[in-house]
Symmetry: C2
Subunit: 450 residues, 2 copies
């Protein structure tokens, strides 16, 4: 059987290109209208995508002046989407640094109940340093400390999601027994960062646990993902880089006693599609022409830690002012920028344009066949189990992908024509984990919490 790909639609309000909101084809007027997001999810569902995906961060991006970079809170948006769809999964980002685990456990469990098993949690430690100031902290915890906390956080939340055994609710009207309290367990977690007694205050959710998604590719991020993640969203500019990551993360998972199939690698891909390669390039340039240096340079400063606004945009990128040894929130994304600089020797403006499309994720331009070729190559050459599709603008950028590229993937036997199951775990080919507290552990008990 041909390898089956997984496809998520990663929804950014107006699209992923930083200047998308300025383009006449973007639906900028509707980016605060939930009907718009529901329609995007319905399109992705009609195309049998695995899930829609939402980023998040609990602070305001400093460059809101130049782009639609507000954040609609994902739990609410995802819930509105599951109410308007039947099968597609919803994956939303939430922070282990800035959310109480009991609150997060409740909301994702509720989302999994309401969606009948379609919820996924994108586990992040939060990159934006200014978030700390919204939560009473003097400074954003450093990368390593955030990951240490995240480890314990996921342990706690997993215990909470497991705290009701699957058959704890009895609801026997005659005897008056609503729940078998022998099957509802205190978790009594006491650790360095958290003390949580539990149990959760709702029955176990349809998937047992929402799907664990992760998006960091630093050393700490890889170790974390190998231990916990069931899907990884990752940024790669080249096939080689994606192959290295894919092999590394699968071998780490194997070394940790996990089945590497239980961990799906999903690079981001942002496609500019047109009927000729040249037209696709021109479309990409249309968007790049709408970028604003103030925004692009602020983005770049966030990634490199250096204010580059005094440099000539059309001069060479000033590699010498970047100190690679500085601690950075987004370590892996910083390395990706440095790799582009080494490989392509861009001017400052060219680098800004390289990052404008999808913040470091792979931008492909070409005909539908060319885009499908790239997808197939990455899938068949050990670089991806699927993709987070990041339309440059919306809704047109996903329409053209669904209408032109998805049919080619189907002809090549790479993508489903119908859903086979009903939960996000079904779509992704992941097992439903048993509760770690189950009195008679089921055969499907996953290794990571055994």
């Amino acid at each position: 059987m041909t390898r089956q790909l997984h496809l998520n639609l990663f929804i950014y309000p107006d699209g992923h290109h930083e200047a998308a909101w300025r383009h006449p084809d973007s639906d900028t007027d509707r980016i605060l209208d939930i009907g718009y997001y529901q329609e995007l999810a319905q399109k992705a569902e009609a195309a049998k995508f695995d899930a829609v995906f939402f980023a998040d961060g609990p602070s305001l991006a400093e460059n809101i002046r130049y782009a639609a970079r507000f954040r609609l809170e994902p739990i609410t948006v995802m819930t509105a989407i599951v109410a308007a769809t039947e099968r597609i999964g919803v994956i939303g980002t939430a922070s282990t640094t800035y959310t109480e685990p009991y609150n997060l456990a409740r909301q994702f469990a509720a989302l999994d109940h309401l969606s009948k098993g379609r919820a996924g949690w994108n586990i992040v430690t939060t990159g934006a340093a200014n978030a700390a100031l919204n939560f009473g902290l003097d400074a954003h915890p450093v990368h390593r400390d955030r990951y240490e906390r995240a480890e314990e956080y996921v342990e706690v939340i997993t215990k909470l999601w497991d705290s009701w055994e699957d058959d704890a609710v009895v609801a026997d009207r005659a005897s008056g027994l609503f729940a078998d309290t022998d099957k509802i367990h205190r978790v009594d977690h006491v650790g360095k960062h958290f003390r949580v007694a539990g149990p959760l205050n709702a029955p176990r959710s349809p998937q047992g646990r929402p799907v664990y998604v992760q998006a960091g590719s630093s050393e700490d991020g890889r170790a974390f993902a190998a231990r916990w993640a069931e899907a990884i969203f990752t940024a790669h500019q080249t096939l080689e880089s994606a192959q290295e990551f894919y092999a590394d993360i699968k071998s780490r998972a194997r070394a940790g006693g996990r089945d590497p199939q239980g961990l799906k690698v999903l690079p981001g891909i942002s496609p500019f599609i047109s009927s000729t390669a040249r037209e696709a390039e021109e479309l990409h340039e249309q968007f790049n022409d709408l970028t604003q240096p103030e925004y692009s340079l602020a983005q770049l400063e966030r990634l490199t830690g250096v204010d580059l606004s005094a440099y000539d945009l059309d001069g060479p990128f000033p590699r010498e002012v970047i100190d690679a040894d500085v601690e950075r929130s987004e370590g892996s994304r910083f390395q990706l920028v440095l790799d582009i600089v080494e490989r392509e020797q861009p001017t400052l403006r060219q680098l800004c344009h390289r990052l404008a499309g999808a913040r470091g994720h792979r931008v492909v331009t070409g005909t539908p066949d060319q885009v499908a070729d790239t997808i197939q190559q990455w899938a068949e050459q050990g670089a991806a189990d699927g993709f987070n599709v990041m339309p440059p603008w919306l809704p047109g950028g996903i329409d053209v992908f669904i209408e032109e590229v998805v049919p080619i993937l189907r002809v090549r036997g790479l993508f489903r024509t119908e859903y086979e199951g009903s939960t996000l775990r079904d779509h992704l080919g992941l097992e439903r984990p048993a509760s770690q507290y189950a009195s008679r552990p089921a055969a499907t008990l996953t290794k990571e919490t055994a």
Copy 2:
């Protein structure tokens, strides 16, 4: 013009009577199905109710063994409901003690956006002491400390909801100006309990601020409500008690410089309705016969602080073992229990039955006309601006109220036949507050944050 009442449907999974889930007319099989909650809200919307209302608490009720007292997280449930309705408001409970204000501000603002202005926040400090153990605390903060924190919390969250002026989003494609950052304000709150820099990371919501609802009737609770609340959910067994509360809270609001019309008093009412008074009594008894002493006594212990399980259920309530001076989480509800004891001299079982219907809220039994009479009397004699309707069981308990009582209220000119506005503020007759940061303060700027 006749006084117009406000009616909310307060949704408990299987209904408010503690034994509702055991009754054959309850839809116990559907209490984890979101479609069930959406249908209840649609019924209330068809009947032109102001809002649906959800309680919450971030811990598991200890008596889950005997009743359906799990908690589906309200933000998610409310979002699913707004996705399936057009006009009705949604009011959900969230804790100032156990939620980060920045996170709560984001979620309610998002809900207000998604619902196009139908969100209300029921502000609670959390009564259940075991919640503390889910959030790393050794003990639940005492009543007074929780209210002190709540004061500051509401100040912070109001600043966050005001942090974008109404016209901050420009979205001018030509010039590239997405948001006028002169109209987006840091809040820079520094207080005893919170340090929050802000601004919020999303535009101001349709209602400016979600409606502020409050449900505590203790001394601290009344002071808090008079300062902040726009609607108050309150428990009273007698007309006199409700009148005292109504007069007191309105006069406190007036003393604080507020228009007392901007603060709606909504007692809870749990109606058993049948075609004769006797049949309604019998219906009530049917439910009481399904109660379980283990559950009822645990409820009573929570309210009184005393384990009464060793006492004879059919002996007199042992008033002498209750120490009224002990600090209690739910001070006002405790007083209500003592008042019942003084007034009615019940046996322990009778007291359990008195509280089984709606945890201390007024239970009325009677014909549709009799129930409408009570409602009219309370409304016309200075005890209520409307009611939180608490059906003893669901869905039948709200069906009969809508089919039999609402038409009578309409004939008497007490309740609307159509919505006049589109937001929850419109339904409740509340002004839309201007942002406290608005450069040109609008005439509607409310006093409480001026």
